[in-house]
Amino acid sequence: MAARTRSNSAGRATPLLALGACALALLPLFHPPLFFESFLYLIFFWITLATSWTILGGFSGYVSFGHGAFYGIGVYAMANLGKPLTFGPALLLAGLLAAATGVAIGAVTFRIRRLRGELFALLTLSLAIIISTIVLNTPIDGGPGVMVNIAIPHVYEQQSSTLYLIGLCVAFGSIMVARAVQLGTLGRGLFAISDDEDVAEILGVPTFAYKLIAIGISSFLAGVMGGVHAIFVSYVTVGETFSISVPLYVLLMSILGGARHWLGPALGAIVITTISYSFVGGDSALIARAAIGLTLIVATIFLPQGIIGLLLRARITAPELPAPHASFAAAPKTPPYEPTDGPLLEAREITMSFRGLRALDGVSLTINKGEILGLVGPNGSGKSTLINVVTGFYKPTGGVLLHCGHDITGMSGHERARLGLARTFQIPRPFARQTVLDNIMVPALFGARHESRGDARDRAMEAIEFVGLQDRCDALPDELNLHQRKFLELARVLASGSRLVMLDEVLAGLTPREISEAIEMVRKIHACGTTILFVEHNMRAVLELSDRLIVLNQGHLVANGNPREVIADPVVVAAYLGADHAEN
């Protein structure tokens, strides 16, 4: 939803928000009952925490239960450093310490592929426990709690009014940061990570760096709010600060409001805080809990995209398509090759083992510029593994990979994508929660061309036109049939501007008519100057398209040469049909 409505919601909402924030900033001048400022402050507090959480948890999909830790670091930074440093520097330090902790944790955990999903959530929960234990067992607190009596800048007559203003500024700032992240390149990358991190990486998204940036921003904002809140509560204790209720509330607010939209968590925070506050009477205390629970159940069932999804649903319009221009009939141009001698890609003695299973065993091959290289082999022969090694998804156990003569064996997936290596998947792996256009924007932004946002959109539209999906720009992948999803994959590699495209069984599951269309499409892509590695079981297509054919069997390269000669090679026949057939 966030991606589908990306351009529609932000423009109109922002001036309204800014106007609202200005009006709220002036509220103390009208001397409202102090309680209103205090209540609004609590809303600002939760808006900041929920919004900062969503930059990591909502946008990138890395659900964190450790947000209380970052907030707590901010609380104790202010409690301990506020007096010696004064408010401003202490507040900045509160944010920086939280950010440093977040980045340090991310630098370790984000490198480990298996630490995603619930494992990441549990790990961050442990972080909160560790931090609270450190705080509790050191002079940072030591157990009895810390009184916080720190002077804050004098803006309004009442200190509480000034604190309210600070809370407003932090909350508004957090929303604007989340907006900038979502609408910027970082947001594109984070949403791609959220939907399919491996695909994002091989499409060129620097996933590790982006996640680090996201956790850094997220924890910085939480730390800053913690610093402000330490002054608000005036006495901080470990039990209260690191309570599990903080990350839980933040999570609930984000989900209720819409975790994949910069404004969603703020809406969730407003609703839950207001409900929570509406039932504080002595006789109705339990109603608040029940009301919050009921709201969440209803929202989960009826508003899977949160309140923001409901608000924006009526306003969704198809993105404006750029006016057709002359180049539409042609494919997007592939960047010219740098003048180098030798093959485009060379694999030398590539070995890939999985716990004793050798999927590739000393495979050496070359892919020459401008050719269509067919790659066939029985199931389990290592074809997809080879593509995974070339695109950087797997690091080979042995061997060297050269691109235009340069060793790229140690390069990450996104670095290879930027060199111009792209692939499709046997079973299409689009970003499920992004529209067709947004799916294709990702490689246009992050791929070989590394376009600016405006150009990337043009490039994406060209690719969409090229594969004939222009009527489905605003559709979600689930709304496409298999044929269209395969073409969506083709459009992604086209938009990336890659020099070498690896097509992994693009024809699988298609009807004969669709296969013919797909073959034609591959020809058109090749005609644009793209080198193609064509992995396929359909021999008719392989023979029709390939300039050269290689065969893998049980991880070994067993044939390489003219397609028609290769398929007649007894070794190849034996690989497919057994030794008896080869002899016959």
Partner: protein, 409 residues
């Protein structure tokens, strides 16, 4: 919003009975019953009615309701009924602050009553201070943190409980001639508990008692096995447990698993019921401000309170039906407030504060004085001990349950 008040009239017989009871009270309210009439006096406060502190918060709600009903039957304050504007702070200090601001600026209550628990009271205190309001509270655990000159504590710890509460204990033990020569201190890191336990170390040092073990554990800890092993290894004459809630009982169970029974054992704020009813809790000691035992319950007011509390606690399904420190200090806080208003015939905060500082308050817990550091008076805490499956007061001697003396091994 919870408002409790009796606006309807009471029967003549009831009024007379209530009046007679009040006059007989050792707490000395001493007012003839009269029908409360006119606009109510609104007393605002919050309690932890939900959240992690709700179980204890419920005790204070029950007590407040008992008191206001009694008071209104007896003529209210200044002849006007009391209306309690009670809000739920959800056990959160930040919400407590906001709600006290609401009580003062939106609900415009006349007087304040404090919330439950130290952190929430500090939040409320900061608001009271900004508005120069009197804040009477019942459960503040760290006196040195309360430096507002119009706050008045009903939890009678004295200004330095870290010294006096433990001092009382050792005085009690020394009175038998069998003062412990060694001690093992284990404490939760719950702020008000750890604060007392840390202070106990200094007292122990001053008295020349050997500290064989000092161990802190996280509040909420459930695994007492390793702690029990250390306690057994220390094998001190006295086990001092800075425990809140069920932690003390859990430690005893862990010790029992190791076939170890502490010779003497003391708990700071235990949940009283389980400790008394368990065989493992035999001879356990704890601090208390009140039990429904002679001579503490000698006054009619105390007896009436104890009786009403049991009924109300059962109705509210509280787990422990005996009125003890929590309930009694809560009641005393209300006595302090209404006593000051009735004595001064004023709702002015300065007048009330001056009166309380000068005169203190007569309560079922004892005579409060607020003339010491941070408005604290003497430490009125007593030492109680589980004997034959029930708590009895054992120290100071003049307040000990008749026929009961401290058992030291």
């Amino acid at each position: 919003m919870k408002t409790i008040g009796l606006k309807a009239g009471v029967t003549r017989r009831g009024a007379l009975a209530a009046g007679a009871a009040m006059m007989a009270s050792a707490a000395g309210v001493g007012r003839a019953a009269a029908q409360a009439s006119g606009a109510p006096i609104r007393v605002g406060g919050t309690l932890a009615l939900t959240g992690p502190l709700a179980q204890t918060g419920a005790i204070h709600k029950v007590v407040g309701e008992i008191f206001i009903e009694q008071e209104n039957k007896a003529g209210g304050m200044l002849g006007r009924p009391i209306e309690w504007v009670l809000l739920d702070d959800q056990s959160k200090p930040d919400l407590a602050r906001t709600l006290y601001e609401r009580l003062l600026t939106v609900d415009k209550v006349d007087l304040l009553m404090g919330p439950y628990a130290t952190a929430n009271i500090l939040s409320a205190m900061s608001v009271a201070q900004r508005f120069n309001k009197v804040l009477i509270h019942h459960t503040f655990g760290i006196p040195k943190l309360a430096n507002y000159d119009r706050h008045f504590p009903a939890w009678p710890l004295g200004a330095e409980p870290e010294k006096t509460v433990t001092g009382n204990l050792f005085d009690a033990l020394a009175s038998t001639g069998k003062a412990p020569k060694s001690i093992a201190i284990v404490t939760s890191k719950f702020p008000s508990v750890q604060f007392l336990a840390a202070g106990a170390r200094d007292v122990v040092k001053q008295r020349g008692i050997e500290e064989k073990l000092y161990l802190e554990f996280e509040f909420g800890n459930r695994d007492f096995g390793p702690i029990a092993a250390r306690v057994r290894e220390a094998n001190a004459d006295l086990l001092y447990v800075g425990a809140i809630g069920l932690e003390g009982s859990q430690l005893l169970e862990a010790l029992d698993q190791l076939n170890y029974k502490p010779r003497n054992h003391y708990y700071v704020y235990p949940t009283p019921g389980p400790l008394a009813s368990s065989p493992l809790g035999a001879d356990a000691m704890a601090a208390t401000a009140y039990e429904d035992l002679a001579p503490l319950n000698a006054s009619t007011t105390a007896q009436e309170f104890s009786k009403l509390f049991r009924v109300a606690a059962q109705k509210a399904k509280l787990p422990y039906l005996e009125p003890d420190t929590q309930a009694a200090t809560s009641y005393s806080a209300w006595q302090t407030l209404t006593g000051a208003v009735n004595a001064t015939k004023s709702l002015d905060d300065k007048v009330l504060a001056d009166y309380l500082k000068g005169n203190g308050a007569d309560t079922i817990v004892g005579k409060f004085r607020f003339d010491g550091a941070n408005n604290y008076g003497p430490d009125l805490m007593k030492v109680k001990q589980v004997q034959n499956g029930a708590w009895v007061i054992v120290w100071p001697k003049e307040q000990a349950t008749p026929g009961k003396t401290i058992i030291v091994k």
